[in-house]
């Protein structure tokens, strides 16, 4: 067999390899191998594709992380963004529109001018101080702050109790919290690694 025929065979093999690789990749991406947006931010999620470990890395000081409680019909998780210093996800509503609600985790918040609300407790977590910006300051939005050791969650709704009372009552239930400790322990147990930050031993470097 001549070298040129071998070359032709190799080209055909390459072409098949490309097609096979593309087919596998596309199949994996579109066939549900990827978790839904809700599964990634759900408080009850056990998905390996959830964003919470990444959230814990984005704001390593935060002892709590925001998550989404079960959503009623008409609401969906629109997307998320996690980068160093910030983690957020947003909710879309068929009535209030896209990004009707957004939960944002940072290491701190400026709550100047906000009204303090009664604190709340998270199961297994630290106490959370709550603040709300007066409606007049952000018409027609509602902005709430949840302060806890090492972090702050800003929960912004694109409407207020006055403008959309029914929606507001629904949206008031969406924001949940999960503890950082849960993921620190999970990483230590499963990967024998340290999720650097609050509640974990000091990291190299």
């Amino acid at each position: 067999m001549s070298a040129s025929i071998l070359r032709g065979g190799a080209t055909r093999a390459c072409r098949r390899l490309v097609v096979a690789a593309a087919a596998v990749l596309v199949t994996m991406v579109v066939s549900g191998c990827g978790a839904s947006q809700y599964d990634r931010v759900s408080c009850t999620s056990n998905s390996r594709q959830s964003i919470f470990v990444l959230e814990a890395q984005a704001v390593p000081s935060a002892t709590l992380m925001p998550c989404a409680n079960p959503l009623p019909g008409g609401w969906s998780v629109g997307g998320f963004e996690v980068r160093s210093g910030l983690a957020r996800f947003w909710l879309d509503s068929d009535r209030a529109g896209a990004r009707a609600g957004e939960a944002r985790l940072t290491s701190s918040c400026d709550v100047t001018g906000a009204t303090q609300l009664p604190p709340t407790a998270i199961h297994g977590g630290p106490p959370v101080q709550r603040y709300e910006t007066p409606a007049a300051q952000q018409p027609p939005a509602t902005v709430r702050y949840y302060l806890f050791p090492g972090g702050c969650v800003t929960y912004r709704l694109g409407f207020s109790r006055q403008t959309a009372p029914a929606l507001f009552d629904q949206a008031d239930q969406f924001l949940g919290f999960t503890t950082r400790a849960r993921y620190v322990n999970g990483v230590r147990r499963n990967q024998r690694s340290t999720l650097c930050g609050a509640g974990a031993p000091p990291c190299t470097g």
Binding site: A20, V24, V29, S50, S84, S193, C196
Partner: protein, 622 residues
Amino acid sequence: MACGKGPLYLLPVILSGLDRPRSLRNAELRLPDGGRQEHQSRDRRTPGLVCDVSIGSMARDGAGTSLNRSVTAQRGLVGGGRRRRPSGEPPPLPRNLGVSGRIWITLVATLVTIVGLVVASAALASSFDRWNAAVLRGIASIRTGWLTTLMVGVNTVLVSRWTIGVLRLGTLVALVGLRRWRHLGLFLGSLIVVELSAYQLSLLVASPRPMDVRIIGSWEGFSFPSPQAAALVVTLVGMVYALLPPGRPRSWGKWAAGATLLLLGLARMYLGVDHPTDMWSAVILGVAVPVVAFRFFAPNEVYPVTYRRAKTAHLDVGGRRGQAIRTAVQEQLGLTVLDVTPVGLEGSAGSTPLRLRVAATEGEPERDLFAKLYARSHVRADRSYKLGRTILFGALEDEAPFQSVRRFVEYEDYTLLRLHHAGIPVPAPYGFVEITPEREYLIVMEFFAGAQEIGTAHVDDRVIDSGLLVVRRLWNAGLAHRDIKPANLMVRDGTVLLVDAFFVQVRPSPWRQAVDLANMMLCLAVRTDAERVYRHAMRYFTADEIAEAFAATRGVASPTQLRSVLKQDSRDLVAEFRALAPARESIAIQNWTLRRVALCMLVLALAVLAVLVVVRTWTVVA
């Protein structure tokens, strides 16, 4: 002997035995029954004449072939040094991804396999995580103040949106400026494919940032594959392939890109921003996509990146393509090419015209042949040209565009045969050869040695008569040349010779034929005067026919080169001819049809869509 039906239009031509030069007609095929038949060596061009011929009788005419084909050559030789390419053997100029291209494809396939396994198996994912963590712990243990400052600087500069944005926009601007549209499309396509693939993969694998080490510097999103690194890799590799000519500049570019990526990889691992596997996967994606895209869709041989002044229609005929031309002509026409030289490039925009020096054959001395190399780019250019003319003028270009380069070259070969058969002085056709199937073909014909272009030749009464007679013969044969201009009219021994049969139309509209006459008269008058040409024309055409010709010929009806020559002439030759001929109302060029309206709307819609796509993907691009 078993012969089927071939294309009917070629039957009289084939049977007449007049159409090919002697060297192409002298292949004798010995029939199984011992009889002999003069065969025109058209076995591949006319399926109907593929005959059952014993291998033994063919092998006796064997001649040299390329070394790498010597094994099969012993069995596959046919008359006149021709050789049939066996099934499975690549064509003279195969598409070639190169060794590195194949390696990158294999790496992508491996990457996809590993991703699939990691998604399916948590244990495997954990083992990767542990390995990554161990490597990064080792790297982090050597962190020192100055090195950290340096690495932060490197990372900040290299993955900054500004850096990548400037590189990408600079490349886009350069490619637009160089009118290198194919490279531009591939560059943009590679960016979009890599960025979208990296994003989708990162969501699928959902790998967090490195554990165990303190992360220094900013990051965004899941880590596998590193989106920032993938963005830089695809940009640099795309730039190398789109902007740098092959050879030393591209080689240096690759080394520079490689060094940059190595530095970035070290910096990001040192800072604990990315795992080693994040970097590798980003590099695999970012390199493989543009490398395969450019090598497959814009191979150097077909779309060379060059900064020499040249028309984009002209292909480089050196290197692998030059060798492929030699091999193809040897194997498919039985002619040994001694030299390949581009010729008359300035007068050609729709192909790459070449002069082939071929070795002496039985009965014919060493001589020159003319050849035109056609590639898919020429088909696309022809399609765009016809589309543009249809939109601008309606009925001016009323023929359907070609769908493939094979049809393109088959048509020219056919029209050349028709012209030759009709006794019109055109180059004797030698047929065409396949360089790369469905991508590149070379049509070969007689080279008019000693002929001069009409623009520089002495034009006397004999030449005028000869030129007018060419048009008369075209009319009589029911043909129109459609591209009569000085560059396509040669003069030898007082005879006008017609070249470039590509635009020839069989059974054209009367308008087309009239335009041919007017253009020929204008070409002749440029070198003489209108009155003299008109007087000669009256010998072959009626006054009404001449009047019709100049009523039909206005502006765009004449080829660009002829219009340019007329502009340089101080006389208004068209007006002079119109004054000499009987008065006749102008024939409209603009013709509004439903097709033209629909085409205009379609083109407009596509342009709007293209703008919208660019606007929507602007964040990816910039």
